[in-house]
């Protein structure tokens, strides 16, 4: 009989397995075989990692060290071997036993190995110095097993002499962990004691001898925590023993094995005993009742050994033909999600709910103790929100289900009263009042109503293994090779999808898609079961859940991953422990762990959101993501490139080479030009020229030809674009270079006969010169040439030529603009991005600078040529081209510049400031008030700029000086910089008046002085000025920034404090005695005076506030309040006068600590003062803050202008003040 809930995870085929050990951390198991081999398996992957073959004959015992990369083995060759699995070698051998070694174990902390042997001894070895340190004799037959106690200095051993012995080894530990410094006497005593050991064995003494087995005992084990021992013997019995400090006795016997019991152990976490025997069974016993819980039988293999994983719920048993690794029960907690609630069954078999939004677990609602067998957890849970009922299935008793109504309120683990039950393997709700029950044995699905009576019966396809909800009125029938969508009403198959081995089905929240999970595959299908995508995982897939946006998140044994509809997938995060996902919301993944506890894991959904946005072409979303998060670099880039979005990838790349490639790929010439300029390599120019030509962007073509010094092509380009001017210049250059061919060509292009004739004459080709002149009808000149050359007309044979052709001219002056044949490449995305960037006001401008951003101040900048052409003579003209003898590198720059120069005004330095800086102050200096305001609005929610006008003006006018220049001309405006040494136009920035230092020593001090001098109105003004100075400013470092923020905070607090006091004074018209005022006014006055003490002021100033409040309260018989202020004052002030007064007040108040008027002030409560209403905001009550100065307000003030800074909008979304570039 195979137990339904024993789950085999791994099986190996080999010869008889005699020893097994789990690695404490890795998914490894060591198996020692009868054939002398030791195998190391990865049971998760099912692979054999290594083999160790040095023993001669069977290896019976094996154990991993807990922390070191070591293991120990003992075999029939009498040897104990210690191995390193890293170096894969036997490190050394411990010799000493005189017969087979049966078991070997490491001590959990000491460097000891415990061995038992057929030589009737138990020995302890020190593996560090490789010595035998103790030999325990006493058993008078083979000792079959000996184990250390997991915590105490005890050993338990089992022998074929039918006894189990418990040994006390505390003496041995003492001896081996004694302090190193010993007196001579100690040493003497010690050496004497050692002597005694040899004979008297005081190191290890027998504590108890347990007799009860009628045959030899094969195995014995301690309980991990309780004083219990379990043993298994050839009498086929498993015996449970208990021990106290002084005695040990037999508790009970587990009867059931019908052959020798080979090994046994306690379940590490549950009250269970596991045993294996030669009757080919694994048996599980209830520790408390000693009854059989379940058993598992193999057909042909006798079991020899069993081992438990120390941490996780895994066991391994060795048998005649190998090893099996198994779990006793499913660890997947049964659960169901409905809207914001998760219903799940705990390990105690209680139903609980969990609220995702509140992150709150309910108390237990129901106990399912009675469902199935107590040791078998329920398998599935199906929830019916209409009826608030659950349907639970359990694999116990061949499969059963129970329909239970949940109580209205969770009031504890009550036993359900009104339950309907039946047998079946799976049960799911299919409608509000119907559920389906599937029984595998008779291959039948029953549709039942809520009173549990069958309304319909369906014959599913042959071999159906499971059923799942399939959308309203439908079922998904799972067979080993396919999934069938079945319409219950129509009783027919709607669709079928061939997928192997589906185990779980997960519907998306909108019910449109379904994920079918099998062991190693995820298949996504539509609700009509049309396959959308499928993916394969080498690691086992455990669970899945859908994101609201249609991304599937699934968990494997060690990762959470995502899959898009198109099958793109990736890792979201790694997992330390296996979890079962139930829901994902934003950055939170909700899951149940193996202990059935709800957990929330944080994930970063950026990557898949981005990919999703890409797939959906949701550019806004992508933009948003790009702006707000730092996307992973290389992977995203290659992803984008692979997916054919080079233009988007371009946005992420910094490396110029890659940028160039991408730009070429997506046809973004601007960027390509920019990058080519940076890299300046002929190859790149070459490629750029080809690309630009294809685009029809002849201006870029022209530039690349110039860069490449490709004169011929350049000439032809000018010819074809009809740029006569430049063509003429090319002719001049050719002349200058002395390149006659080029000159000829250019002259041809220009139709310049004269030039050609001259050229021929220069190179003594008079006949050609003559012919040219002649054929163009220049008779006179022809004659001159003839004379000069001393020839006569007859000597030259004149071919008959027709009318000389004139070169073709483009009709339209195309050279003036490009005629793009390609659409420019800016995609919607790029446009959005650029548009956005503009809108932002160039906060990101430095990153997106286009080619227009050359160094405008540089000497090399575009330019001089036009001026030169207009005025200069020819020599100068050419000189501009710098075509001297050294027509080499340095010519390049001018060469290009000449061409790209244009007259007209440039951008002023102020414009550069705005371009160079993301700081509002720099934009103000640049005169770009609009963008400055935008920046302030985004950074600190500034909306009311009127108070900042002065500051704007100040900054603006501090940055422009007036330099008298030519007489009778207006003075020249120059721009004052704070980057005095800088000349790179991309780095220059304006001077911003009033640096942090001057503010800290100026306004901040002045404000505090005003506080001391009791000039509160002035103080408020000064502090407000400080706020206005700092809101538009720059600082040099992060450290200064935090100083600035501190100053802002301080100023805000002082303003608040002073305003409170000012309003109190206005209320009582500066009177100290207010007995004449109405009680409401009094109460308010008291409150205000108390609140005055709340803001964070500096020590002495706080004392002033306390002193004032104390005096005010005392005078007006608020003794309790006065007392609390007096106490606070005594605590904190160093001012003797204050202290003195406070003591007096305290003395007076303590006599009658009662307030005349009850006020809303609790000195012990944690609260802040609303800066608008001057009333307390207690911790936990809703509040909003000014994004700039942090002043707190009651929620109702949200959206209004902050009373403290008078600039920013309370509660506005803000990215935070930015003062450092």
């Amino acid at each position: 009989m195979s137990s339904p809930s024993m789950l085999t995870k791994f099986e190996s085929k080999s010869s008889r397995a005699k020893g097994i050990a789990f690695h404490p951390k890795r998914p490894w198991i060591l198996v020692s075989l009868h054939s002398s081999t030791i195998q190391l398996w990865d049971y998760r992957m099912g692979t054999l990692i290594d083999r160790f073959e040095e023993h001669d004959g069977p290896v019976r015992g094996v154990d991993f060290h807990k922390t070191q990369p070591l293991f120990v083995s003992g075999g029939d060759d009498y040897k104990i071997k210690v191995w390193s699995y890293q170096t894969r070698r036997c490190l050394f051998t411990l010799n000493g036993h005189l017969d087979y070694v049966r078991t070997v174990f490491f001590h959990h902390e000491l460097p000891w190995i415990l061995s038992s042997s057929d030589d009737q001894t138990i020995r302890i070895w020190n593996w560090q110095n490789r010595s035998l340190i103790c030999t325990m004799t006493g058993h008078n037959h083979y000792t079959m097993c000996a184990q250390f106690h997991p915590k105490e200095d005890l050993i338990v051993s089992a022998s074929l002499d039918q006894s189990v012995r418990v040994w006390d080894i505390s003496g041995l530990r003492k001896k081996h962990s004694a302090p190193t410094s010993m007196t001579f006497e100690d040493q003497m005593a010690r050496s004497n004691a050692n002597q005694a050991d040899m004979f008297g064995n005081t190191d290890a003494v027998v504590k108890f001898v347990l007799e009860g087995h009628d045959r030899g005992v094969n195995w014995v084990a301690f309980h991990p925590t309780l004083p219990l021992i379990v043993s298994a013997g050839d009498d086929r019995l498993v015996k449970l023993w208990r021990m106290s400090e002084t005695k040990a006795w037999e508790v009970d016997t587990c009867r059931g094995h019908f052959q020798n019991a080979s090994a046994c152990l306690f379940h590490p976490h549950q009250d269970l005993i596991l045993s294996v025997g030669e009757d080919k069974t694994i048996r599980v016993w209830d520790l408390n009742k000693r009854t059989s819980v379940q058993s598992f039988k193999r057909e042909n293999d006798r079991f020899w050994v069993i081992a438990a994983h120390p941490e996780i719920n895994l066991f391994a048993a060795g048998h005649d033909n190998g090893v099996m690794v198994f779990k006793l029960e499913r660890e997947r907690p049964a659960s169901a999600v409905h809207q914001n609630q998760l219903f799940y069954i705990t390990k105690e078999k209680h139903i609980r709910s969990y609220d995702f939004a509140k992150n709150l677990e309910s108390p237990s609602m129901l106990s399912l103790k009675k469902l199935g067998s107590p040791w078998v957890p329920p398998r599935t849970l199906s929830y019916n929100p209409a009826e608030r009922a659950v349907l639970v299935t359990s694999p116990a008793d061949g499969g059963c289900y129970e329909l239970i109504s949940l109580p209205r309120d969770a009031s504890g683990a009550i036993e359900p009263t009104d339950t309907k039950r039946g047998s079946g393997n799976s049960a799911v709700f299919v409608a509000r009042n119907r559920f389906a029950v599937f029984t595998q044995s008779n291959q039948q699905v029953d549709i039942k109503d809520l009173s549990n009576s069958t309304t319909k019966t369906i014959k599913p396809p042959h071999g159906t293994t499971d059923i799942y909800f399939g959308g309203t009125g439908c079922l998904l029938l799972i067979t080993p090779t396919s999934v069938v969508l079945y319409d219950i009403q129509a009783k027919k198959n709607l669709a079928e999808l061939a997928v192997n081995g589906v185990k779980y089905v997960v519907w998306s929240s909108d019910g449109l898609y379904v994920a079918l999970l099998s062991k190693h595959n995820v298949t996504i299908a539509t609700k009509k079961l049309e396959q959308v995508s499928t993916l394969h995982e080498t690691i086992r897939i455990k669970s899945a859940t859908w994101d609201d946006t249609g991304v599937l998140l699934y968990s494997t044994l060690n990762h959470i991953k995502y899959s898009l509809m198109n099958g793109d997938n990736g890792i979201v995060r790694t997992l330390e422990h296996t979890v079962y996902l139930v829901r994902v919301k934003g950055r939170n993944v909700y899951c149940l762990d193996r202990a059935a506890k709800p957990k929330v894991l944080q994930i970063d959904p950026t990557e898949y959101r981005f990919k999703l946005a890409l797939v959906k072409r949701n550019y806004d979303e992508m933009l948003n993501i790009i702006k707000n998060s730092s996307l992973v670099g290389q992977s995203i880039i290659s992803y984008l490139q692979k997916k054919g979005y080079p233009e988007i990838a371009l946005q992420f790349v910094q490396d110029p080479q890659t940028r160039f490639e991408l730009a070429i790929e997506c046809g973004n010439l601007e960027v390509a030009v920019e990058m080519a300029k940076q890299l300046d390599r002929p190859k790149l120019w070459q490629r750029l020229s080809t690309e630009a030509l294809a685009h029809g962007n002849h201006q870029v073509v022209e530039m690349t030809y110039q860069k490449l010094r490709n004169f011929d092509k350049l000439s032809f380009l000018y010819l074809s674009t009809g740029d006569q001017e430049k063509l003429k210049r090319m002719a001049k250059i050719a002349e200058h270079r002395g390149d006659m061919t080029a000159r000829f060509q250019n002259a041809l292009y220009l139709g310049d006969v004269q030039n050609r004739i001259e050229m021929f004459q220069e190179i003594d080709l008079y006949p050609l010169a003559y012919l040219t002149a002649k054929s163009h009808g220049l008779e006179e000149q022809a004659q001159t040439i003839l004379e000069a050359s001393g020839l006569t007309e007859e000597q030259i044979s004149m071919p008959s030529v027709g009318k000389p052709p004139t070169p073709l001219r483009p009709i339209v002056p195309t050279h003036k603009t490009n005629w793009p044949t390609h659409g420019t490449s800016s995609t919607v995305f790029e446009k959005a991005l650029l548009g956005e960037v503009d809108g932002i006001g160039s906060e990101e401008a430095p990153a997106t600078n286009g080619p227009g951003d050359e160094d405008l101040l540089g000497n090399e900048a575009p330019g001089a040529a036009d001026g030169q052409l207009a005025e200069g003579d020819e020599d100068e003209d050419i000189a501009g081209w710098d075509m001297g003898d050294d027509v080499e590198v340095e010519a390049d720059n001018d060469f290009v510049n000449v061409e790209s120069a244009e007259a007209g005004s440039g951008s002023s330095e102020a414009d550069l400031w705005a371009r160079n800086s993301p700081l509002a102050a720099d934009h103000v200096a640049a005169g770009s008030f609009e963008t400055a305001m935008q920046l302030l609005n985004r950074q600190v929610g500034a909306v009311n700029f009127a108070p900042l006008e002065g500051r704007f003006q100040e900054i603006y006018q501090a940055t422009r000086t007036y330099l008298p220049a030519n007489p009778n001309m207006p003075s020249l405006v120059n721009y004052v910089r704070r980057t005095i040494q800088e000349t790179d136009s991309r780095k220059i920035l304006p001077l911003i008046p009033r640096d942090l230092d001057s503010i800290l020593t100026g306004e901040l001090q002045a404000g505090k002085t005003a506080m001391v001098k009791n000039k509160l109105e002035d103080g408020v003004q000064v502090f407000k000025k400080l706020l206005h100075l700092l809101i538009v400013n720059v600082v040099t470092s992060q450290a200064e920034l935090s100083d600035a923020k501190k100053a802002i905070h301080t100023a805000a607090q002082y303003i608040l404090a002073m305003s409170i006091e000012i309003s109190r004074r206005a209320l009582v018209q500066n009177a100290q005695d207010i007995s004449s005022l109405s009680s409401d006014t009094k109460k308010r006055a008291f409150e205000l005076s108390a609140y005055f003490t709340v803001p964070e002021l500096e020590g002495p100033h706080k004392s002033i506030a306390l002193w004032g409040a104390m005096g005010f309260a005392n005078k007006n018989k608020q003794y309790s309040t006065a007392l609390s202020f007096a106490n606070a004052l005594i605590d904190r002030t160093s001012n003797a006068k204050f202290k003195e007064t406070a003591r007096k007040v305290k003395a007076v108040c303590e006599r009658n600590p009662i307030d005349a008027v009850e006020i809303d002030f609790d000195q012990f409560a944690d609260f802040e003062i609303c800066a608008a209403s001057f009333t307390p905001i207690y911790g936990g009550s809703p509040s909003v803050a000014c994004p700039f100065d942090g002043s707190k307000y009651h929620a109702k003030y949200k959206g209004t202008v902050c009373k403290v800074c008078e600039v920013c909008q309370i509660g506005a979304p803000a990215s935070g003040l930015r003062l450092v570039g």
Partner: protein, 295 residues
């Protein structure tokens, strides 16, 4: 070619003129000079009068003159007075612009100040090796924010005019835009001018102060400006730069006072005009936000 060249007899007069020492120019004794230099000297004197704001005297003095040079100067004076003489200037330029330097300079100034920058540049480019024209071209380029072109122009002038004062000055103007080490070089040039008796003037002192201000040497800048105020307390540029300095120092009260002074002296000074413009922009930009006040 250039009557003001180092070899010329008007070198001192010319230097003083360009250092802004107008009174020295006006008081300059021109009796010993040659006949050929008479007209250029007169032009300088007249332009100095204009620079000192004595435009009406100039207009009266030149009302009957027909010499193109003097007509050009008169037009400049009239332009300074606020009369629209651009068309007259154009006509004059058409007739005499190709070879008469004074016409080129005055015409260039009028055109560029009237916003006809390209026209002005075209006219000035016809000069025959005049540093005055070069300086004017440099200034116009700087006003256009074409530092590159200005630098080129100055560089080329240095090739033929070597270390002339005007080349140095023009280079310094450019340097004041380029920044970095150029600030210091500009300072040296301006300081030399400002500290020599021949050329000390509010004009040159202000130039020195401005360069120091850009170098971040505020106390020195202030000293120079104070000195300039002693020479001429009504020189608008002194006051304008004083405003800048006090703003940087955070002296709000002084700043306001100085602004009132400037308003008196020259309400059309750029420092004031520009802020008036900017203020409107501020109000406009501010209007995009509608702050809600809690009552």
């Amino acid at each position: 070619m250039d009557p003001y060249s180092p070899e010329g007899e008007l070198i001192n007069l010319h230097s003083a003129f360009h250092a802004g020492a107008y009174q020295i120019v006006i008081d300059f004794d021109t009796t010993p000079i040659s006949q050929a230099a008479e007209l250029p000297a007169r032009v300088l004197k007249l332009r100095s009068l204009i620079a000192l704001g004595r435009t009406k005297e100039v207009i009266t003095e030149l009302s009957g003159e027909k010499t193109p040079d003097l007509v050009a100067v008169r037009l400049l004076a009239e332009y300074e007075e606020g009369n629209d003489v651009v068309d007259q200037a154009r006509k004059l330029v058409e007739r005499h612009g190709s070879d008469n330097l004074t016409v080129q300079l005055c015409g260039g100034m009028i055109l560029s100040r009237a916003g006809e920058v390209e026209e002005a540049l075209a006219l000035l480019s016809k000069h025959q090796g005049s540093l005055d024209a070069v300086a004017l071209i440099v200034q116009i380029h700087l006003q256009q924010n074409r530092i590159d072109l200005a630098a080129k122009e100055a560089q080329r002038a240095r090739k033929w005019a070597q270390d002339s004062l005007l080349v140095n000055i023009a280079e310094s103007w450019v340097g004041m835009r380029e920044g970095g080490e150029k600030y210091q070089s500009a300072f040296y040039v301006f300081e030399e001018l400002a500290q020599s008796n021949q050329s000390q003037s509010a004009h040159s002192l202000v130039a020195q102060a401005v360069s120091e201000l850009h170098l971040g040497r505020l106390p020195e800048a202030e000293a120079a400006l104070q000195q300039a105020l002693v020479i001429n307390e009504k020189y608008a540029d002194t006051i304008a730069n004083m405003i800048v300095l006090n703003t940087i120092l955070g002296n709000t009260a002084e700043t306001e006072e100085l602004k009132a002074q400037l308003e008196n002296v020259n309400p059309e000074h750029r420092a004031l005009a520009e802020w008036r413009e900017k203020r409107e922009e501020f109000t406009r930009a501010m209007g995009r936000y509608s702050p809600k006040f809690e009552v």
